[in-house]
C-alpha cells in the first residue's frame, strides 16, 4: 500500500516536472507579445538634459506614451496628453517660445528635421541654409529652457510624412486623437534618465622632441598646438560639430603630420620641441585644457614659448582672426602676429588681431588660450569667429554639419600655422620661402583632410557620453602615435558646475489605434450576429416552437426524440 502510494506520488511529481518546460514556454510566449508589433519604428534623439550648479535645463523626461497631434489643432484644445509633431519646415518659433515660457503642459514634442541635415548626408539644397538658421534658433531656445516634457528630434521619412498628413487631416476636422476617437499613438518606452555619475574627459597629447645643438644642455623651448575635439548641442547623439571644432582637430592632425615628416630626418629637426594636444571639455569653460595644463610638469610648462589654439577654422573666406588676452603691444604677441601676417600675405588672405582682457572674477572662459594665459603661458587662438562665444554656444550644434565646412579653408589654415611655425623654428622670419609648398613632398594632403573631416562629421562627440575606450579616442591616439614620438592619454573627471543625464537615443513606435467606440460597435455587431445565427439554427433544426420555449422556461432540458 505504502509503495503504491509512493509510486503514485512520484508519478504525479514527474508529470508536474514535465509540465515545467511547457509552462516556461507559455510564459515566454506571453511575454514576447509586446516586442515590436508597431507598423513604424523610427530612430529618435532626445534633447540634452543637464544641470548647471543644480539649475535644471533641457528636457527632463524621456518616456512617452501619448496620441499624436499636429499644429492644426483647435486653439484652446488640451494638449497635455498629446505629442505635438513639429516639422522644422513649418516651425513657428514665437508659438513655441510662448508655450515654453507660459509653462503650458504638453505630453511631448517631436521635431522632424529634413534629411539634408542628417550627419553623413552631403546633399546641398538651396533651402538648407534657411533650415540651418531656424535650427540654430530653435536649439538656442531649447537648450537654455527648463522643459518639463520629453523633446525628441527625428529625421523625416515617408512613414512620418504619411502619419503627419493623416494627423493634420484629422485635426483639421476637429477630431483630435484621444482614447475614444482613434488615431496615432506614439510610444517611446525607456527608463527615466539618470545622472551620469562621473563623466570623464580625455585629453590626448603628442610630444615631438627637437634636436639639441652640440654641447647645449639647456631645456629646448616648446611650442604647443592645441585643439579641443568635443562638442555640445541640443541632441547629444547628433552633435557632430563639423566646424566647431572638427575643423580644428583636422588642422592639428595635418600640422602634426607635416612636422613629423620634417622632424623624422635629424638634419631637418628644429631646435624646438612640439607639443600637440587634443583636449576635451571645450564647451564647459575649457575645463579639460585647464586640467591638462595643471598636470604638465612645471618645467615643461615653463619651457612653452607660446601656444596656438585652433577653434573653428573651416568656413572662412578671407580673414582669419587671432585672439589674444595679452595686450597687443607685448613683444611676444607682436612677434607671433607678425609671423602670421607675413605668411598670410604670401598666401593671399588677411589675419587680424583681437584683444580680449581676462576678467579673473568671471569664471567664463570664452577662448582656449585664456586657460594658458591664466597660468602665465603666452597663447593665441586662431579662429574665424569674431566675437567670443557665450557658454554652450558655437560648440558644435545640430546645424553644424559637414556641408558648412570648406576643405580649402582648413588647408589655408594649415598652411598658415605650419609655415609661420616653421619660419619661427628655423629662423626664416620675413624671408620669402615656402617650406610646405604644393607639389612638394611636404605639401598639405587634401585627401587626409577630407577623410578626417568626413569621419568627424559622422561622430557625435559630447564629452560626458564618450567612454574612456571610445573608438574615436583610440583613433585619434593612434593617429598622433604615427606622427609623434610620445603619446599620453589623460583621463579626468568633469567635476565643474555641469551635471549630465543619460538616455540620448531611443526608438519611437508609431501605432495606428482604433477607438474604444469602434471596439464597442464591433462587439455589438458580433453579439447580434451570434444571436441571429443561434436563432436561425434553432429554427431550422428544431422548429420555431423550441425557440419560443427557450424564453419561457429555463433551458437544457433533455428531450428524447420520439
Amino acid at each position: 500500500m505504502g509503495d503504491e502510494k509512493k509510486s503514485k506520488q512520484r508519478d504525479g511529481s514527474m508529470v508536474f516536472e514535465s509540465m515545467y518546460p511547457l509552462l516556461a514556454l507559455m510564459l515566454i510566449l506571453v511575454a514576447c507579445v509586446d516586442l515590436c508589433d508597431a507598423a513604424t519604428v523610427v530612430d529618435v534623439y532626445r534633447l540634452v538634459q543637464y544641470d548647471i550648479s543644480g539649475v535644471p535645463f533641457g528636457s527632463r523626461f524621456s518616456s512617452l506614451n501619448h496620441h499624436a497631434a499636429s499644429l492644426s489643432f483647435h486653439r484652446g484644445a488640451d494638449l497635455s496628453r498629446s505629442v505635438l509633431i513639429l516639422p522644422l519646415r513649418e516651425l513657428d518659433l514665437g508659438f513655441l517660445q510662448d508655450y515654453i515660457s507660459q509653462k503650458q503642459s504638453l505630453g511631448g514634442l517631436l521635431i522632424l528635421l529634413p534629411q539634408t541635415l542628417r550627419p553623413g548626408n552631403n546633399i546641398v539644397l538651396s533651402e538648407t541654409q534657411r533650415f540651418r538658421k531656424l535650427l540654430a534658433q530653435l536649439e538656442n531656445l531649447l537648450v537654455h529652457a527648463n522643459i518639463p516634457f520629453p523633446v525628441y528630434f527625428a529625421f523625416e521619412n515617408e512613414e512620418t510624412d504619411a502619419m503627419l498628413a493623416d494627423v493634420k487631416k484629422n485635426d483639421a476636422l476637429g477630431q483630435q486623437a484621444t482614447a475614444t476617437t482613434g488615431g496615432y499613438k506614439l510610444v517611446i518606452s525607456v527608463s527615466e534618465p539618470r545622472k551620469i555619475a562621473s563623466p570623464t574627459i580625455t585629453n590626448i597629447q603628442g610630444w615631438l622632441p627637437g634636436s639639441r645643438a652640440e654641447g647645449d644642455s639647456n631645456q629646448l623651448p616648446t611650442i604647443a598646438i592645441v585643439a579641443s575635439y568635443d562638442t555640445f548641442g541640443a541632441a547629444p547623439a547628433l552633435s557632430v560639430g563639423s566646424d566647431s571644432n572638427g575643423s580644428g582637430v583636422v588642422a592639428l592632425l595635418e600640422v602634426a603630420r607635416l612636422f613629423s615628416t620634417l622632424y623624422s630626418n635629424p638634419k631637418t629637426r628644429g631646435r624646438y620641441n612640439l607639443l600637440f594636444a587634443l583636449t576635451s571639455g571645450g564647451p564647459y569653460n575649457y575645463e579639460g585644457t585647464q586640467k591638462w595644463l595643471k598636470s604638465l610638469d612645471q618645467r615643461m610648462r615653463e619651457s612653452i614659448d607660446y601656444a596656438i589654439c585652433l577653434n573653428s577654422v573651416g568656413s572662412w573666406d578671407n580673414e582669419l582672426l587671432v585672439h589674444v588676452s595679452k595686450p597687443p603691444d607685448n613683444a611676444y604677441i607682436k612677434q607671433i602676429f607678425e609671423g602670421f601676417s607675413n605668411v598670410a600675405e604670401d598666401l593671399g588672405f588677411q589675419v587680424a588681431l583681437k584683444h580680449k582682457k581676462i576678467n579673473i572674477s568671471n569664471s567664463r572662459v570664452a577662448w582656449e588660450h585664456e586657460q594658458f594665459s591664466r597660468l602665465r603661458v603666452t597663447a593665441a587662438t586662431l579662429s574665424e569667429l569674431s566675437t567670443p562665444p557665450e557658454l554652450l554656444e558655437s560648440a558644435g550644434s545640430l546645424s553644424d554639419t559637414r556641408q558648412l565646412v570648406h576643405e580649402d579653408a582648413i588647408i589655408k589654415g594649415v598652411k598658415l600655422v605650419a609655415e609661420s611655425l616653421a619660419r619661427h623654428i628655423y629662423g626664416h622670419q620675413r624671408k620669402d620661402i615656402k617650406i610646405f609648398a604644393d607639389d612638394s613632398s611636404l605639401a598639405v594632403n587634401p585627401f587626409n583632410v577630407r577623410s578626417w573631416l568626413d569621419l568627424l562629421s559622422q561622430t557625435p562627440r559630447v564629452a560626458p557620453f564618450l567612454s574612456k575606450s571610445e573608438p574615436l579616442i583610440t583613433a585619434l591616439k593612434k593617429e598622433l602615435e604615427d606622427y609623434t614620438a610620445e603619446v599620453s592619454v589623460q583621463h579626468e573627471s568633469l567635476d565643474g558646475i555641469f551635471t549630465f543625464y543619460d538616455s540620448t537615443k531611443a526608438s519611437l513606435n508609431i501605432y495606428q489605434v482604433a477607438s474604444v467606440t469602434f471596439d464597442l460597435l464591433l462587439l455589438l455587431v458580433l453579439g447580434s450576429y451570434l444571436i441571429v445565427l443561434f436563432s436561425f439554427l434553432v429554427i431550422t433544426t428544431r422548429g420555431v416552437d423550441d425557440l419560443i420555449s427557450l424564453f419561457r422556461r429555463p433551458p437544457s432540458r433533455k428531450v428524447k426524440m420520439v
Binding site: 495606428q512 462587439l523 451570434l530 443561434f534
Partner: protein
C-alpha cells in the same frame, strides 16, 4: 482596450462553433465525445500532412504560382479527406443518427482547424496596440471554414455511409466534394495569380461556403427520400 479587440476576434472565430453546438439538437444528444474524437483525428491528419509537405514540397522564395507545386499541395490536401473518412466511417460512435454524426464530426474538425491555425496568431497579434482588420477577416474566414467542413462532412457521409443513393446524384456529390476539398488550392490561386487581397478572398470564401452548404443540404434531403 486591445484585449477587447482580442476578445472580439476570439468570439468571432470560435463563437459560431459553440453556438452551432448549443443551438442544434447536438447538445441534446450529448455528441461532445464525437466532436472530440474528430478533433483528435484532425490533429493526427495535420501531423501527417505536415510531414508530407516537408518531404515533398520545395520552398520557393517568391510568391510564384507553380502549378506542379500547387498540384502536389492539392494531392496532399486529399489526406484531409482521408482523415475525414476515418473519422466518419471507422471510429465507433455511440448510437447517434447519421444526421447528427456528420454534423458532430464536421464541428469537431472545424473547431480543431480554427484553434490550430488561428488561435496563436490571434493571441500574439490582436493584443498589440496596432489595429489591423486582419484578425476580423481571419474570424470571418473561420466561419466560412466551418460551413465548408460541415458540408464536406455531409457529402462524405453521403458517399461512404449511405448505401443506396439515386444514381443521377452520385456524380454531383463527388464533384461538390472535390470542389470543397480543393478549396485551399483555389484560394491560394486567387491570392497569388489573380492578386486578390485578403478581404476579397474572404468574401469569395463566404459566398462559396453558403452556396456549397445550400447544395449539400439539398443533396442530403434528396438522398434521404428513398430511405424513408
Amino acid at each position: 482596450m486591445t484585449l477587447f479587440h482580442f476578445f472580439n476576434c476570439a468570439i468571432l472565430t470560435f463563437g459560431p462553433h459553440a453556438v452551432y453546438y448549443s443551438a442544434t439538437p447536438l447538445s441534446e444528444y450529448d455528441t461532445l465525445g464525437t466532436s472530440v474524437k474528430a478533433a483528435v483525428v484532425y490533429l493526427a491528419t495535420a501531423l501527417v500532412k505536415l510531414v508530407c509537405l516537408a518531404t515533398f514540397l520545395q520552398v520557393s522564395e517568391t510568391e510564384v504560382f507553380d502549378p506542379y507545386q500547387e498540384a502536389l499541395k492539392a494531392m496532399i490536401g486529399f489526406i484531409d479527406v482521408a482523415g475525414l473518412y476515418f473519422a466518419l466511417a471507422q471510429l465507433t460512435h455511440r448510437n447517434i443518427s447519421q444526421n447528427h454524426k456528420f454534423q458532430a464530426v464536421g464541428l469537431g474538425w472545424a473547431f480543431a482547424d480554427s484553434v490550430l491555425h488561428r488561435l496563436a496568431p490571434l493571441w500574439v497579434g490582436a493584443r498589440g496596440l496596432e489595429f489591423t482588420w486582419d484578425y476580423v477577416l481571419q474570424g470571418l474566414e473561420a466561419n466560412a471554414n466551418l460551413v465548408f467542413t460541415i458540408s464536406l462532412a455531409a457529402l462524405g457521409s453521403l458517399m461512404w455511409l449511405r448505401k443506396n443513393k439515386p444514381k443521377t446524384l452520385i456524380p454531383i456529390i463527388y464533384t461538390c466534394a472535390v470542389i470543397i476539398a480543393t478549396m485551399p488550392s483555389i484560394t491560394s490561386y486567387l491570392r497569388r495569380v489573380m492578386g486578390w487581397h485578403f478581404p476579397k478572398v474572404v468574401g469569395f470564401e463566404l459566398m462559396t461556403s453558403l452556396v456549397m452548404a445550400f447544395i449539400s443540404c439539398q443533396l442530403f434531403i434528396l438522398c434521404q427520400r428513398p430511405s424513408l
